[in-house]
Amino acid sequence: MSLALIVMLPFIGALFPALLLRAGRNACATATFTFSLAAFILLIFQAPAVLQGETLHASWQWLPKLGLAVSFMLDGLGLLFAGLILGIGLLVIFYARFYLSKQDNMGSFYTYLLLFQGAMLGIVLSDNILLILVFWELTSLSSFLLIGYWKHLPAGRQGARMALTVTGAGGLSLIAGLMLLGHIVGSYDLSVMLQHRELIQSSPLYLPALLLILGGCFTKSAQFPFHFWLPHAMAAPTPVSAYLHSATMVKAGIFLLARLWPVLSGTPEWFYLVATTGLITMLVAAWIALFKDDLKGLLAFSTVSHLGLITLLLGLGSPMAAVAAVFHIINHATFKAALFMNAGIVDHETGTRDIKQLGGLWHLMPITATLAMVAAASMAGVPLLNGFLSKEMMLEQVAHTAWLDQPWLMAIIATLAALCSVAYSFRYIVHVFFGPQRHDYPDHPHDPPLGMWLPPAILVCLVILIGLFPQTFAGALVASSAKAVIGGALPEYHLAIWHGVTPALWMSVIALIGGLSLLAGYRKVRSAWEAGPHPDAKAMFQVWIKGLVQLAQVASHGLHNGSLQRYLAWMVGAAVVVGYGAFMNSSLSAGSRELLPAHPTAIAAWLLLILGCLLTVWLHHQRLLALIMVGVIGMVVCVGFVYLSAPDLALTQISVEVVTVILMLLALNVLPKTTPKESGFGRKGRDILLATSAGVGIATLVWAFLTRDFTTLSDYYLAESLPGGGGTNVVNVILVDFRGFDTYGEITVLGIAALLIFALLDGALHGGSAAKRLAQWLPDQARAADRHPLMLVVAARVMLPLALLVGVFIFLRGHNVPGGGFIAGLVVSVALIMQYMASGFGWAAQKIRLDYHAMIGSGVLLAGLTGIGSWLFGYPFLTSSVLHLDLPALGEIHIASAMFFDAGVFSVVVGATMLALSQLSQIGRRAEALPVNQAAMDCDPSHPLQKDPSWKP
């Protein structure tokens, strides 16, 4: 539990800084510090057990089917990294309180910092590689926020974007790699995975997995050639650099290399990929660092170089090298974090980080200078400091390793890199703090307040203490974390200052002397360097990104040019290609199901349908004719349903058909009546090709399944319909009972669609260019002289009660014979629409006082309440129950609770249909600009015309 709490505390704490900002900057920093401290104390409590060799676990299932578990593990390596993350985190939080100026939003800074801290802890403590991936991406995101913290600086935004792009791409690679690894082992648990070295290394997927994982690690840890993002990330505030770019985020890649070391290392592939990358990175970055004038740029490249050193050690694959790597992780974190904070102090106090503008600060800021000298000397590898110890161990290892069959090559390159490292470290000391005092510093330099120099001072103390007494201050931690990396017994070693006269000592001496003489002749070296070529990684990166963006634009503009026709053509085309592709690749034989004979009537109906389709396409420029053809097709479909044992469908189809045609007519009244002939020959040809290939495909598919037998789960419904649902019309029982939840969703959709229609048309009625156009609209067709013909009005009026009765009848019987709420609702709607059509919208609306919005709402509500009602009796949502009543006059009556549900369906269908149609006819009325008629019909025979007494011939 406490393991999970260590990870969760920073995330919980992340809520507070932003909230507490109003209480002041100190409250904000204190809250952040407290949460980190709590996590740190929890970690310390676990430390003794871990240092004695125990591994702590805590685990909860999350998505077991995916192999994803929230499981944490604390072993030596986790303890080392968690300690660095929290320990240096605490110092950075403290330091940042004094570093950030009043203009900076401290709340968001600390929130980002804690998010980052939690994500880092998640990486190093997770026992599930999928969980690691989640936290890994979280570090990329939170570091993006931190690097781009100064949003007003373009460099900050660009640097953040570059870091996110590179580490994000690496993250994708890592996901693929770890997935492969999990696939090889068959488990995503790290503890399980680490047991399967043989299995992983003998798998043919080992090399792809290794390459992908290294892609993730090398980008995160800024290894050559992905190192270029780190210097640009230096646009971040210095506390961020000190935290992310020395001790934590850039070490995440190293961490993963170390974590997977037991199963991945030891192969020639691992050696040549990892060690070579580390070696090149170490040398190239150290060389570039020598010529960086920006203090943080120098430190950034030096970080890259030291990360290369650790990568090299891990790449060597020997247990002793792993011990050295772990030791250097500790040492580098201490002196580099101190140096970053130191660079921040110099920048803060002098107003510049440019080495060319600095120098002679020794007397102005003695504390800062002292701290810088110790930390930089450790970075250079000067004896008695911790950097010396691990660098010696590295040189010792390298001296005994042959590379490309050359026993001395690696040693020479490593010595050269160490030489450069000495040179740039001393350049940091000499060119900043020594030399003549200047009079043109942008600010007035002096030592900073205690709050700013104390955190680096603590780190520098560690540098010295570990340097003098390595076994006392770091021995246990190194031993337990190295053991975790190696996964077996530790090699014979002792951490000490003096190992006798070894090759490594000579290499150190050469590096020290060579580095100092390089610095002595710095001016010459510099001019030689400046004459050479300087490939600009940022420019190359931008060219590359620009190319990608252009490619994406070409692709997306080609597909998505904003034209619906283009989109639809692509969609249909893609569906056709995929469909035919699947069809061609399957070995389908002809079906063997016994077929039904085709009755001559069926053939006639079929001919009618085909003719209807052809005519619709042929005549689509004349919209009214095309609409009539669609109506004909609908009728054939309806008859087809009757013929093929689907009476419910036929009833629904015919009533929907009526309503649809009326709706389209209402819309067509305002829309143009003809379609211009626009499509060229080529466009038509393309569309015909697409349409026919899709049609042939679908027809073949239908033919394929119609000629085959199948199994259905409908036997259950047929058997249970009467006993379980209380009805003999199985389709209706399925709708309102078995699959009532689906139906509930569908009526909700229907209601939403009606409201959408209302909103769309209501907007057109009230203001805007639509209302203006509607007012200016002129009829484009001749109007009938009798708007409300006598015959139609009388027929509609006589039919209304009859139709309502039919509606009720259909509704009531629906549970047992064809009918039900859907159909009854449509029938009643048609009856009501007839009134509108006969007497005009305005007149009818005055008489029919139904609130269609309320009908939709109450319908959905009723259906929902019926469903909830079954909860009262302890049944799941929408369980139906049947009530048998024996009434004196009516006899036995079955009332299923599903009937109330069906009543809700009925209400929604009527409300939705009528809302849509009445709103459409409103539009028509507005367009025609006609007054509301006073009488129901044009000429009412029951009121004979009065002779006008004033009339005279």
Binding site: G562, S563, Q565, A569, R593, L595, L596, W606, L609, I610, C613, V617, R623, I633, V637, G640, Y643, L644, S645, A646, P647, D648, L649, T652, M664, V670, L671, P672, T675, P676, E678, D687, L690, T692, G695, V696, I698, A699, V702, F705, L706, T712, S714, L718, T728, V730, V731, I734, T743, E746, A753, L756, L760, L761, A764, G768, S769, L774, V909, L920
Partner: protein, 113 residues
């Protein structure tokens, strides 16, 4: 019979897609209506074809056709009505707003015309 249904679905699909690819809204609406027919029959046909075997339970019935596709199609018919209604109204509103019934609105219309 099966061949008739299969070919009818195919022809409805082809006609629907052709109209769907036209440049004006009203043919697109008609195309969608035809596609809805095709889809509904397609779904219905998944339960295979039977004559005089409606899924109404009775003692004298010879057999029953599959009720499940029918239930699905029944709601599908109502939903496709709602969809058609929304599309019609959208085309109407867009015509009133832009003064053009081209599927891409007035601007595109000028460019392509």
């Amino acid at each position: 019979m099966e061949a008739l249904v299969a070919s009818a679905v195919g022809v409805l699909t082809a006609a629907g897609i052709y109209l769907l690819l036209r440049g004006r809204t009203f043919p697109v609406v008609l195309g969608l209506a035809l596609l809805s027919y095709a889809t509904n029959i397609f779904l219905f046909a998944i339960g295979r074809l039977k004559i005089n075997q409606a899924p109404i339970l009775s003692d004298t019935a010879l057999g029953y056709t599959d009720p499940l596709p029918q239930a699905l199609v029944l709601t599908a018919i109502v939903i496709s009505f709602a969809m058609t209604a929304v599309i019609v109204v959208m085309s109407l509103r867009s015509y009133l707003e832009s003064g053009s019934d081209h599927v891409d609105g007035a601007q595109q219309n000028k460019e392509e015309a």
